[in-house]
Amino acid sequence: TAGNKIFHFGSCRISVSVTEIRSGFAAIKANIQARDPIRTLSILSYPHSLHKVKSSDRCCITYQLFNFYVDKVFKHCKTEDSYVNRKISSIANSFLSVKRKLGQCHEQNKCMCGQESTEKFKQILANYEGLNVTSAAIKSLGELDILLDWME
């Protein structure tokens, strides 16, 4: 496929190069998940899956999650492997590009945050802050496909 996907969150419409993000993640997924010893815990899916989020809240939770990954996660994922670091950079820069687009929707009040998405995001932050920062960041990065699958 051509690689880009148009996401419609109500009146917020954004193009995301999903294929590029997925191929970058696929290249390092095994390496990253191998660095996460606690496979029973989840940052994004505990206690409830993202699929529980109401469609009216999808834009806001997506916007919050892209902010979360850009602001908190990627910077704590540096590894000793320069190939992995390059792929993380490519994902991070793609996320930054999407975060900007969602930010514009948010500013134009097209990406409103309801009670549910606020609660869900609080839970994700609590899961994240329940671990030491590097473990939490690596685990979050390892769950990227959960986010992409849910988005798609």
């Binding site: 051509a2 690689g3 990627f74 390059r86 950079s89």
Partner: protein, 204 residues
């Protein structure tokens, strides 16, 4: 560390059809082999990762004065790029690309295209330019430009069937590429026309 070695100059980007290359002028040191190393920095690194730089290992200590940076320029944001030279223990300062590079500025060329009349079938074969590329194909009966038809081709694997032709008139085709990641299109290719010949391929 001895930094007498001059930094690489004339650093520039050659970017065509979403393939991006960094080039620079060679640093001349008589009787010595000069090696170069390239690093990049995306907008994310500038704004969220302490302006860190990331080495491109395929372009570490190379003797060539060109580096394929396509794989690392994988987001539509502004990138910084830099190169330095090494000769033995001597190392230059970094030479940095003037201004940023964003892949949105890549130059897009019209696609290579082959139009085939297979009996009464109007077919087109398009160049595979990579997953980022879609194609917009326009086709019409010669003289009836106002009734031009369009087909969007998202995956180039095989020959694309456009239409079933009538015997006699010529049918014309032209195509352009479209890259969704940067929301830009190339100009159209040259128009090619063919005519149906009962059962035999005919190329005009």
């Amino acid at each position: 560390e001895d930094a007498l070695l001059p930094a690489p100059q004339n650093i520039s980007i050659l970017s065509t059809n979403m393939k991006h290359f960094l080039t620079w002028s060679p640093v001349i040191v008589q009787g010595e082999t000069v090696r170069y190393s390239v690093e990049f920095q995306g907008e994310y690194e500038r704004e969220y990762a302490n302006e860190s730089w990331i080495p491109i290992c395929e372009c570490s200590l190379i003797t060539a004065t060109v580096c394929n940076i396509t794989e690392d320029i994988s987001a539509t944001v502004a990138y910084n790029l830099r190169v330095r030279a090494d000769v033995g223990a001597r190392r230059s300062e970094w030479g940095t690309l003037k201004g940023f590079f964003n892949r949105i500025t890549t130059s897009l060329t019209p696609p290579l295209m082959k139009v085939i009349a297979d009996g009464y079938h109007l077919l087109v074969e398009l160049e595979d330019m990579g997953p980022a590329f879609q194609f917009c194909v326009l086709y019409w009966k010669k003289g009836q430009e106002s009734r031009m038809q369009q087909k969007v081709v998202k995956e180039v694997g095989s020959v694309v069937h456009l239409d079933t032709m009538e015997a006699g008139p010529e049918y014309c085709v032209k195509a352009q590429t479209y890259v969704e990641a940067i929301n830009r299109s190339s100009s159209f290719s040259q128009t090619q026309c063919v005519r149906a010949q009962g059962g035999r391929s005919m190329w005009l």
